[in-house]
């Protein structure tokens, strides 16, 4: 799948093609049956230098697995990942190590991701020790200042810090070796809203100051709007839509993106139509055939969506979606969403009365 025309290889930091990851699971008595979790299926996208690519989706959609595959913290089942021109999908760990300096990660849980027995200085200094860099202490103290902590915190332990401060320590550790790419996996989800804003502002200003590239994983569309330049929407291991941030929020094409957006509770007072999805996300062990979203989709067409898998196709400049019946405009009322030719209500009893004035 070729990506958005116009961008040359020099602008691209990460290029992911046909990325696939399956996990084997044992099933049945004595674990005789073998099944596979289709965690990530045929996902292709690119991350440009200096941008923030957001990956959004509900639990189990494969967003965190994708993040780990990009950093090769997991082995790929299929596909390739190119980082800064190098194909890293088959490199040995020894050859990979020098590249690891340039890609770092910030984790969700600021309590679990810091070793309680190490001082802040040791935690942030660890990357220097691993890669044999000298003069770590001064650098660590500079880093503490960069993320809004005080150099005097060098000898303190993680338990002496609040959640927001701990996340700053995690950010400082990720910045230590001046990486090109930072993968942020739900970095603010565990924080209170007033602290969330502090950390988001920090990440935005660091990106400007150090020309960082972020891959930002989250389930929270409101947070993502504040930081992402482009957004990839995943559902059940598939990339269902990708585009510029404004396009995704103001003109979503995939019905799933639209449903996600309309489900976000908001403090605004305007009444709006909500596209309510019935049911739950199906099991990734036995994903539905053809379009994986068809059992929950309000625009489902019998004999098409459940037979032929939609390809990701360009529906607007830089915006691609994998849907046979993409949305024509936004916002749409629930009735309009359903109006696509052939959508028959009797096929979808669980969607009865799904739209609500909120």
């Amino acid at each position: 799948m070729s990506d958005n025309g116009g961008s040359s290889a020099a602008d691209t930091l990460v290029e992911v093609q046909h990325l696939t990851k399956r996990f084997a699971v044992k099933q049945g008595v004595f674990a005789r049956g073998h099944a596979q979790v289709h965690a990530v299926e045929d996902v292709s996208f690119e991350v440009r230098r200096g941008e923030t690519l957001g990956i959004v989706g509900e639990s189990g959609c494969g967003k965190s697995t994708t993040a780990r595959l990009i950093l090769r913290l997991l082995e790929l089942t299929g596909g390739t990942v190119r980082f800064d021109g190098h194909d890293i999908s088959k490199l040995s760990q020894r050859r990979l190590r020098p590249l690891r300096r340039e890609m770092q990660m910030i984790f969700q849980d600021p309590y679990a991701s810091l070793n309680p027995r190490k001082t802040v200085g040791q935690i942030i200094g660890a990357p220097f020790a691993i890669h044999g860099v000298k003069g770590a202490k001064t650098r660590v103290q500079e880093l503490l200042e960069t993320v809004g902590l005080s150099p005097e915190h060098y000898n303190r332990y993680p338990h002496e810090f609040s959640g927001g401060q701990r996340q700053r320590i995690g950010v400082a550790r990720a910045l230590a070796l001046s990486p090109k790419l930072i993968v942020c996996d739900e970095p603010v989800s565990a924080l209170d809203v007033s602290i969330q804003a502090q950390v988001l502002n920090l990440l935005r200003s660091l990106q400007r100051d150090f020309n960082l590239t972020y891959v930002f994983i989250t389930h929270d569309l409101s947070v993502l709007r504040q930081i992402a330049d482009r957004i990839a929407v995943m559902y059940l291991g598939r990339l269902v839509e990708i585009g510029e941030s404004e396009q995704i929020y103001d003109a979503p094409k995939h019905p799933y993106t639209a449903a996600l957006l309309s489900a976000v509770p908001r403090a605004g007072t305007d009444p709006r139509e909500r596209i309510m999805l019935g049911g739950d996300v199906p099991s990734p062990i036995a994903p539905p055939p053809a379009c994986v979203f068809h059992p929950r989709c309000p625009r489902f067409h019998r004999g098409h969506c459940d037979v032929e898998a939609p390809e990701l196709r360009e529906l607007a400049p830089h915006q691609r979606a994998a849907c046979h019946y993409p949305l024509e405009r936004w916002p749409m009322s629930d009735a309009e969403v359903r109006q696509a030719e052939g959508a028959r209500r009797e096929d979808r009893p669980h969607l009865e009365g799904a739209a609500h004035e909120v």
Partner: protein
Amino acid sequence: MSTGLPEPTRERDDRLLLDVRGLTVRFPTPDGVVQAVSDVSFQLRRGETLGVVGESGSGKSVSNLAIMGLLNRARTVISGEVEFKGRDLLTLSTDALRTVRGKEIAMVFQDPFACLHPMYRVGAQIAEAVTAHEDVPRERAWARAVELLDHVGIPNATSRARDYPHQFSGGMRQRAMIAMALVHNPDILICDEPTTALDVTVQAQILELIESVKREFDIGVILVTHDLGVVAETANSVMVMYAGRVMEYGPANGIFSRPQHPYAWGLLDSMPSVERRLDALVPIEGSPPSLLTPPSGCPFHPRCPYRFEPCATERPPLEAPNADAHLDACWLPWDKKVQLGLQRAKKVAA
């Protein structure tokens, strides 16, 4: 958003379910006394959803646990009055409280997986809730469980009642918990972060279910959450808590369209918007205080950008500054609040 608050005019208020006055909860610990909840007062009527918002440690969960009598009385000092249908729940004996709890006041918790026993069938656990307060044969209890599961939108309830919790998805588990709470037609449903563990599309379903249950059974709902968006969509009235105290309390449309307390401004402004990208989020500086040594005066004053003379020394009372306003606990004079509120609204609109 549906109906607003019931009219504040005091006709004989037979819709009043719960009248909490001066609720205070203290936890003595080896390090000192944790002042978890201080002087909290509110009312709940039938058909009302009261949203209780605040950040972690603001006392929003503890106040509800105290109302439910779920705090260990030996290790907690509770004072104040919780009047429910003419009785003060805080003075009831443990036995008397047990018949109220689960029967007249039911609770739904954040993590539905932790609240269901993994080794009993879902239907059996709901049936057990039936027999806990009612002497009925097991078959009748089971039938009631199936009926309730069907009622809260579990498809094929007859067969799904025989499932174990791990066979349910997160959303279905939360539906089952709501079914269990409804077993004895309670008057009050307390939901503590009911959708925090759920995905956003499932969250919408559960909020919808709570709303329809409230209408159908004509009950009162207390919705405890840190998510202002959830409150804005579901609550009729809102109580904003900080450091164990009520900062602002009033009808939901008033709180969201004309918030009066600087802490509420801070919360609303630091909330990322899905509608547009902001140049910079405006966080509240600093972090919440320790409840072992809460600040003197207004608990928010160390973080408040508008603090002035009395804030550090004198505690502002929870009062309505004038007839058109709702309750807040802040020393700022009204005209100053109006002026700052207008500035804020202009900034938001820009």
